[in-house]
Amino acid sequence: MNSFQLHQPKDLGSAASFANSGGDTRFLAGGQSILASMKLGLASPDAMIDLSLVPDLKSISVSNGVVKIGAMVKHADVAANAEVQKAIPALAELAGGIGDRQVRNMGTLGGSLANSDPAACYPAAALGLGATIHTDKRSISADSFFLGLYETALEAGEIITAVSFPVPEKAAYVKFKNSASRFALVGVFVSKGSQGVRVAVTGAGSCAFRATDIETALAGSWTAAACNAVKMTSDNLNGDLHASAEYRAHLIPVIAGRAVAAAK
């Protein structure tokens, strides 16, 4: 790993001002993606801003039909939180299935969303529940947050502070794992409720996206059969040595159907 300046601010304002000090500056949340990238030489920041000492980024609250989770809350803490388990069991289960146990003890919600890894789980939950991503500057709907491969609507120096997930009537997330990396080969989050019927896919494209054809089919009939009747195009889907684009296109409605069957 190349050397870098390390800042450990104790408030959000200082964190933002370090980010505007020039050079390639990155935020450090749990570090479970960026540190690996730095070791591989894929990232080589001049400075890092560790957000772990900034207060107010670590709380979880459930009220008025909304689960609000701080950006620095770790996956293991979302998975084990009784209020989240009760309000949106699919979200707790998703968090409990990210990476492995050690990764879940460090990785954070904000870090995962800001990274927009094409196969990460949390982006599917944010899109699939119609979440709102709060930053130190504004609120962004999940629908306009994920822009592409490792690309989001965040501006340079903008810090995610929390995410609000509307509580659905029913939801589930099913992940078809790459058995080596444990990332989603295809993962699908389905929900229905105040945000309508939503179907969000991860692992198959350059970033998480909504499968609108499946949403239309499920709005007509909330059944696995309705999913299976949808034919997805493989255009713009990922193809690699683990799975062709056509195979991923086939998997999406199949996994969506399994999620509908599991939804609660």
């Binding site: 450990q8 450090l28 540190l35 050690q102 990764v103 460090m106």
Partner: protein, 156 residues
């Protein structure tokens, strides 16, 4: 850039001035000379470097030392009693021969210890799912699962 860090490792206070880019496992092995914690892949896959930070299992190759600032760190060297008696999980791995070459063992044991209170009378499948962050390249999982089960029972 140098940073000052202070933490407790196996109950002892430790302070040092280190490079900001130093990972926790480098600090533990090369600065503190506690070489029981192993580096297998150094890419967060294998879990050989697993230690506890404030009671939680983490992969020390994927943490900056600065991320453990002020923390209580527990490594494999801190498990046994002062008189040398093995920790129940270590004893279970010995009794059930939960190792072949032994390289993954420190990480396996540390990972398994974190399961105390989280898995009650677990099935083999639950144990396998819970240690999926630890890889045994000898594929000696049968006895590892048996050891974890016995160790958890002894710790209960």
């Amino acid at each position: 850039m140098s940073v000052n860090v202070t933490m407790k490792v196996n109950g002892q206070s430790v302070s040092a001035t280190i490079e900001a880019s130093m990972t926790l496992v480098e600090f533990i092995r090369e600065h503190l000379r506690l070489t029981g914690t192993h580096v297998g892949c150094n890419t967060s896959q294998c879990g050989a470097c697993t230690v506890h930070i404030n009671g939680r299992a983490v992969k020390s190759c994927s943490l900056l030392v600065a991320q453990a600032q002020g923390a209580e760190v527990l490594t494999i060297e801190g498990l046994a009693a002062a008189n040398g008696d093995m920790h129940p999980m270590q004893a279970a791995f010995k009794e059930h021969h939960g190792l072949q070459c032994g390289f993954c063992t420190p990480g396996m044991v540390m990972s398994a210890c974190e399961l105390k209170g989280k898995l009650v009378d677990p099935t083999d499948e639950q144990i396998r799912a819970s240690i999926d962050g630890n890889i045994c390249r000898c594929t000696g999982y049968q006895n590892i699962v048996t050891s974890v089960k016995a160790g958890l029972a002894a710790m209960a």
